[in-house]
Symmetry: C2
Subunit: 336 residues, 2 copies
């Protein structure tokens, strides 16, 4: 049956080892894969703990790791105390309002302040760290440091600038936190495009996620090569139009996702056919414009395609096929 | 817990009744909702059968309906014969290659030729219908008619033109099919934006899907009003930036999807706050720019947001909350 998500185990191992060999302690973001088996490989390669995005993900990964960071401005939920008693739990916070709700939790919990280093999503500006730190400490919270997601690294040529922004923000936050008596603050950064550029003199841990698989975005940003792509989608040609030099495959947005940054050349790429482009997706149709002068594959033929952004793909399937013949359940799929 | 998908039952009933009251027999596309309970409501309101996109969906909906059309250029799968023996099954076909594979199926199966009426996805051009019809009939297939998806109706001001293209394509296909001895051919059309404009003198059935819930796309196309929106996502404000007049909510692309046509004003809308815009989504973050001059809601407050495109949303959750207090399982989620 197609479409199906497939993982190349050799490439997965190589990607995990390469990132683990970096100079900065690694706390990989497992929202990318959502698969406990892969988290175990990351921990065996030296990861100091895991990063998750939601409480639901944390509950799944508590089975394989006892040191979890929810890198998100968490709103205290009734399930949070149970989890905090099971594992060493750290959560993100960027407001006194959320801090007050966290302070009512009757369980051990550490907090990192989220800083906006230029991505302008969640997080406080650097000049607001002092007020927030003072407030969180006065609530009796265990404030341990700060984190940032330099998401503006996701643009061609912006990786180094985003890593520099990350450093500057974490340096400033670290000074503020030390002035409040937070010793050896955690200063956590990193995304897959920027993690190799993070400053080891500043950043105490990095949280990349996508690197385990890579994807068409990383390929087009230049942070990986074709040989580093460890996940692809096997799809079937179901229709073709010779007059438009176009194929329709059965991998649409329902398995590829529909993420497409303005700088991307399409909605994904085709393995072994670098000039092909996925120019449109609807739920069950992917439109591929085939390279000029190359013969169109026949209807019924299978192709391997690479999604733009791999994280949503794992949220769209219940399991993946592994190249050693096994299947892994995507245990944390849908854990919002 | 947020985020969660919620269905307004009164509005759902009203939407189902309104479409069923149209002049053309209705075979609704259930890929939108993926929920057997809703299919039962559609059938009770007079639907003549159901449309699905995949074999997996057909297997689920065979439990509630014995007349299914897979509106897709189906590649014969080993599971197809079993299904064809359980229900009256019709499948789409747009090539002789796929037709040959279908002809090897040892089970009753009807076929509709897919025509490209201007959307340029799957389907043959009108001038290729004769050759394909001749070929499929010579294979011994039970050719019953033709269908088209006028997807180019999904653009402001294009609905009437797309409905006219649909009519022209189906008129032409009908003439060809009758000339080959296909009596009273099925001529199937319709999308939610165009279904009310389909020509009852030509089109023998329509296959809209989104109309049961509607969404921000339909709102911005003008095919529904706010009072017709039957599905929304309850989300929580988790972060706010007064300096940017911006909120972050916990509904990101992992529940809203990331579909955004060029003409849409954002990634979704906010119920009761028409001037607000969801300007960005990442997996767990929705960025909402709040109307100028209106006070930002506090962190912790819940908001109801409307996705751009409702079909992918149902593919992202295992169940929905219904306004009568019940919960419905999304039984066909992930059925690729």
């Amino acid at each position: 049956m197609t479409p199906v998500v497939r993982v190349d185990l050799d490439r997965l191992h190589a990607n995990i080892s390469a990132m683990a060999a970096g100079p900065i302690p690694l706390r990989p973001h497992v929202k990318t894969h959502k698969i406990p088996e892969i988290a175990r490989l990351q921990l065996a390669a030296g990861a100091t703990g895991l990063t998750v995005a939601t409480l639901g993900e944390a509950e799944i990964f508590a089975e394989v790791c006892d040191d979890l960071f929810i890198a998100y401005p968490v709103w205290a939920d009734r399930r949070l105390p149970d989890l905090a008693r099971r594992v060493r739990l750290t959560v993100g916070c960027d407001s006194l309002t959320a801090g007050r709700a966290l302070a009512r939790i009757d369980a051990p919990l550490s907090v990192l302040i989220e800083i906006d280093s230029g991505h302008h999503r969640s997080g406080v500006p650097v000049d607001a760290v002092a007020d927030l730190a003072r407030g969180l400490l006065s609530l009796g919270l265990d404030l341990r440091g700060a984190f940032t997601f330099p998401g503006h690294s996701y643009a061609p040529g912006q990786m180094a600038a985003a890593a520099a922004d990350e450093s500057a923000a974490l340096v400033a936050a670290g000074e503020v936190l030390r002035s409040f008596g937070v010793t050896d603050p955690v200063l956590s950064g990193g995304s897959t495009p920027s993690a190799r550029l993070s400053d080891p003199a500043v950043v105490t841990e990095v949280r990349p996620g996508v690197y385990v698989f890579n994807d068409a975005q990383q390929l087009e940003l230049g942070t990986c090569g074709w040989e580093d792509i460890a996940l692809s989608i096997r799809t079937r040609v179901v229709s073709r139009r010779d007059d438009l030099h176009q194929l329709i495959v059965d991998a649409g947005s329902k398995i590829l996702g529909s993420d497409r940054p303005a700088w991307a050349t399409g909605f994904g790429r085709v393995m072994a056919v670098p000039e092909a482009r996925i120019t449109a997706v609807s739920e069950h149709h992917g439109t591929i414009v085939w390279p000029e002068g190359e013969a169109l594959p026949s209807i019924g033929v299978e192709l391997d395609v690479v999604p733009n952004h791999v994280c949503p793909v794992l949220n769209l399937v219940d399991e993946v096929e592994v190249s050693d013949g096994s299947r892994w359940a995507v245990a944390a799929r849908g854990m919002n």
